[in-house]
């Protein structure tokens, strides 16, 4: 393994190093990367693609474009100062923190080819020749998650399709089963006992995706045009911040504030009977309502849209507004919210999307200073519903 080049990427605040190594050396690293990243283990099981051609070409000695990796370093910002040998050691000792940004399918192709050649016992030379073939690998070394997401998106545009949501999931997987300032992010959540400080990882990913896409129900498919639009939005964000972390903290802040602003007991059967709901309630507690994907994606899309409209500047501003939320004592806003969600469940063509849209309008009204419902939870629930009905006709 030899280091051939080092360049700083100022856009994302990371260092890009170029290594030359053999396929054998790369496959040793790649094996561990795939083991440590289950989200990256899934591959296209298809032989009718360019990858079967690639296998053939590799055996004839073709050169692949560089594989691009990212190295997440939590607390080490001094790697810029390391010499070349030390950088290589740093990479070798942090394999568990490597991610493949570009080249996942090519990596699988290399793995498959190596296995096939290993099994062909009558041509050991061919096997050795392949393993000694040379490959270039680029590694972005840096602590900036968001910048790496941006780079991942630009690299993947036009190639093996991966949705933005999938890329977010891969990139921020490190938060799974780790806390963000006391907030737990877990794989599975017991939906009947929603509590503050615990969020489902996939739900947060969906919410963050909605923020980036400005859409409460973004299509989870790769689309070149969509990807380009996402890139434009991403490039306007401050890539120096860990935006995902900011998003989670802001939303958590909001939920806790909202939880303090209702006294209605939705677990009380008498209360529920009076509502005469069509189906079981959206949730039986406030945290449960806002812990769901529909609420967080509605929030993400609304804040993103308000940012585009230059009504708010950033997530910090939302955190400030959360402290100003108000509701009069006799306003049963959460009960009205539950009733509206129930009506949506009974009448809409696509329940999940409709509920997301409703939450989107609630948050747009709540955080828009030009709205009559600005910082007023009760009004936001009412006018949000009207806006939802108008736009869904």
């Amino acid at each position: 393994m030899q280091l051939k080049s080092r360049i700083i990427d100022s856009k994302i605040g990371a260092e890009n190093i170029l290594l030359e190594m053999t396929y054998e050396e790369y496959l040793e690293i790649a094996k561990d990367i795939l083991m440590n990243n289950p989200l990256q283990r899934k591959r296209v099981k298809s032989s009718n693609t360019v990858y079967s051609l690639l296998k053939k070409d590799l055996l004839e000695g073709c050169i692949m474009p560089p594989i691009v990796l990212a190295l997440n370093l939590e607390n080490d910002s001094d790697f810029f100062k390391l010499d070349n040998e030390s950088i290589i050691d740093l990479v070798k000792s942090n394999i568990e923190n490597l991610l493949i940004l570009d080249g996942l399918q090519r990596t699988h192709t290399l793995k498959d080819l190596e296995s096939e050649l290993r099994e062909e016992t009558n041509d050991f030379d061919k096997f050795i020749k392949f393993r000694n073939g040379m490959l270039r690998v680029e590694i972005y070394i840096g602590i900036n998650q968001f910048g790496i997401l941006y780079r991942m998106l630009t690299l993947n545009t036009g190639q093996t399709p991966m949705s933005l949501r999938h890329q977010i999931e891969i990139l921020y997987r490190k938060y799974l089963d780790n806390a963000i300032e006391g907030i737990e992010i877990v794989q599975e959540v017991n939906k009947d006992t929603a509590s503050p400080n615990a969020y489902h990882f996939k739900t947060l990913v969906e919410g963050f995706n909605s923020y980036l896409e400005r859409d409460p129900a973004p299509i989870d498919r790769f689309d070149v045009l969509n990807n380009i639009k996402s890139l434009e939005r991403l490039s306007n964000e401050n890539t120096q911040n860990d935006l995902f972390k900011d998003f989670v903290l802001t939303y958590d802040n909001l939920i806790k504030a909202i939880d303090n602003k209702t006294s209605a007991n939705l677990s009380d059967d008498e209360v529920l009977d009076e509502l005469s709901l069509y189906a079981s309630p959206f949730s039986k507690n406030t945290i449960g309502v806002f812990n769901k994907s529909q609420a967080i994606t509605g929030f993400g899309a609304a804040i993103g849209k308000l940012k585009d409209l230059e009504v708010i500047e950033n997530l910090d501003e939302v955190r400030d507004l959360v402290n100003k939320l108000e509701v009069a004592e006799d306003e049963d806003w959460i009960v009205d919210l539950i009733k509206n969600l129930d009506s949506i469940k009974q009448n809409s063509k696509k329940i999940g999307n409709a509920q997301r849209m409703y939450f989107y309008w609630i948050f747009r009204e709540l955080f828009n200073e030009n709205s009559d419902a600005y910082t007023n939870l009760y009004e936001a629930v009412q006018t949000g519903y009207k806006k939802y009905q108008l736009t869904s006709e």
Binding site: V44, K45, S46, S47, N48, T49, T160, P161, M162, F222, Y278, A279, S280, K345, Q346, N347, S348, K349, K350, I351, G352, Q355
Partner: protein, 362 residues
């Protein structure tokens, strides 16, 4: 049966069902190249130990529905539960209230099985473009904006005497389930948890026109004038049957010497008049008084708006509208077209009601 994905304008790949994976997703592999697999995502959690059972799936259409239009289906006359009917949307969402109902899930599983194993690509399915990531959704293959799925248990159908789905097309049409894609405004019926389906009257079964009208013609035809005429053809058909039946009765009476010839002549003259036969039809063969009354009101509005007298009898008011439209359509103001539209809507309901409930015509 196979599933097709399109590579380009001339090339495509055929896939065949392989299995449901542990998460309930549908895995298919390429015909002739089993290494090549694709996955169709299934959002519903399949229950453990799914009870596979023989069943039949029928596809209907209506784009005006709610995701919660999920019903158990009963055969009305025999009071037997025969299956479920639901929008295809209910198979790709976990938000409706049946998403964890084990009985619904069992039928949902069988519906997917029928779509991807037995049906494959038919004229009812879509052909998506080949995807590099090999991941597809149910919506890629079937039109989730329109399709309504009726799935019936074969064991239950065996308990219904001489079950034939065509017999129920009229009632299903009435409930908003069409055999073809339809641009109409009518929504799928809103019901509690069950719907009961009724079959066409045995007295009308031998006539192909009524079913053909509702499964083919009316779905394609939107002009209100034409719709009225087409519906009125059913009335003509039935009043002919009434004529024949009454005539036989008169002749029997004559033969038995129960009536005088002059009496017979008077009865025959009365019977020959179309308005009398329509009046007889509406009085003796339609039990839904509220429907009759609504039709009468709308017909009278049109008659009065065009200088004609309103009628106290629903059959006669319909006959009055018929005469207006046949002989004097040119004089009807375009502002009255909405009235004709409303009449057609009620007329359809009345016609279906007659076709299902009419008896003793033979």
């Amino acid at each position: 049966m196979s599933i097709t994905c399109k590579i380009n304008e001339v090339e495509s790949i055929q896939y065949r069902f392989k299995e449901f994976d542990l998460e309930g997703n549908i895995i298919l592999n390429e015909l002739g190249n089993e290494e090549n697999e694709i996955e169709v995502k299934n959002p519903l959690n399949l229950i453990d130990g799914v009870n596979v059972f023989p069943c039949e799936t029928f596809i209907f259409y209506n784009k005006n529905f709610s995701e919660s239009n999920i019903y158990q289906v009963y055969e009305k006359e025999e009071r037997i539960r025969v299956g479920w009917i639901f929008p295809l949307q209910a198979l790709i969402s976990k938000e409706h209230k049946y998403a964890e109902n084990v009985y619904f899930l069992n039928y949902a599983y069988m519906a997917l099985f029928n779509f991807f194993v037995k049906e494959g690509n038919t004229d009812k399915s879509l052909t998506p473009n080949f995807r590099e990531d090999g991941i597809y959704t149910i919506e890629d293959f079937y039109d989730v904006e329109n399709i309504q799925v009726l799935i019936l248990s074969s064991m239950s159908l065996n308990k219904v005497s001489e079950f034939c789905i065509e017999d129920y097309y009229l009632d299903l049409y009435r409930k908003g389930y069409y055999l073809k894609k339809y641009d109409g405004e009518k929504e799928v019926v809103q019901a509690d948890e069950t719907i009961k389906i009724s079959k066409i009257s045995a007295d009308m079964k031998s006539d192909p026109y009524p079913v053909h009208l509702f499964t083919d013609v009316l779905i394609a035809e939107t002009h209100l004038l034409v719709r009225f005429h087409l519906l009125y053809q059913v009335i003509e058909l039935i009043i002919d049957k009434i004529f024949n039946k009454e005539l036989k009765s008169i002749l029997v009476g004559l033969g038995a010497g129960e009536k005088k010839l002059s009496q017979i002549k008077d009865e025959f003259n009365e019977l020959s008049k179309e308005n009398n036969r329509i009046k007889k039809l509406f009085t003796e063969h339609i039990s839904n008084n509220s429907l009759k009354s609504s039709l009468k009101d709308e017909c009278n509005k049109l008659l009065l708006s065009n200088g004609r007298d309103g009628k106290g009898d629903s059959g006669l008011s319909l006959y009055g509208v018929r005469n207006l439209i046949v002989h004097d359509y040119r004089s009807i103001s375009p502002t009255d077209y909405e009235l004709i539209k409303e009449i057609n809507y009620l007329f359809e309901e009345v016609v279906i009601d007659i076709l299902i409930s009419i008896k003793n015509l033979d």
